[in-house]
Amino acid sequence: MSGRLQEILKDVTSDILETMFFVVPEPWSSQDTQGEDLRFDIRGVVSLGGSTPLWLNLFVPMAMARRLAGNFLGLEESRPDADSLLDTSREMLNMIAGNLVTELEAESGLELGLPEVSFFQRTVPRAYMGEHKHVFILVEDEYLMLSFTREGS
């Protein structure tokens, strides 16, 4: 992923998290790339179209998904149910992808599809954080991960 694309993705995601989910992403350091694997519980994917079909993937850990859904829906005491967790994550991915496509307008040819989300429950090595294939956003000690996949990759 190019540095510019990474920056745009970080910027649009941070703006959405702050405006709609009331959390403020924090910077993370290279020291954070060491330690236990990162666990994610919800995965979302949306097609961005293009001449070589491109997809944007979102990975969210459960505790963060609960916090974001609670903030988004204004739930004070009650915990969001499974449908709300998936629906909120899907809407977050929809907003990230839509804003990304808007930012990339000039070079585009991109066509936003309908996002899909599901429970996922997998881990990824922390070493991914040191690579440029993924974008990590730190929110209250947990990471959200974004990555692109291309057809055939």
């Binding site: 709300s84 907003m95 585009s108």
Partner: protein
Amino acid sequence: MSINVLLVDDSRSMRSVIRKTVQISGIDVGEFYEASTGTEALEMLRDNWVDLILSDVHMPEMNGLELLRTLKEDDILKSIPVVMITTEGRDDRVNEAFRVGAAGYLKKPFTPEQIKEKLVEILGEQNVRAPAGDLEGCDF
């Protein structure tokens, strides 16, 4: 005077957020109706009169632009103002929506102030009472 509003979005969570945002914006709403696709919205409009439609663009079955086109071809429903609320702010998308007949276009993410501003612009001040508190920094 209260108004009836139809919210069209395939995300139940987003409908809930928009509904709360409209409520805290001070718009005097009588009834809120909700639909998750353009098709469902048209069915709802057969039995219920609304004064304003807030619609997403990206939806399965019938998307927001197709809904807008269908409404504008209908002699009775064409007078209802439709505000598109969507994630894409590309010029070609915005221009297309206005060409088809949208009364306004709002981009997600949005703040309560932006929603209020747009609705006042479309409905006029007489439909907006003072909000309960300062909207600045207010959460949904």
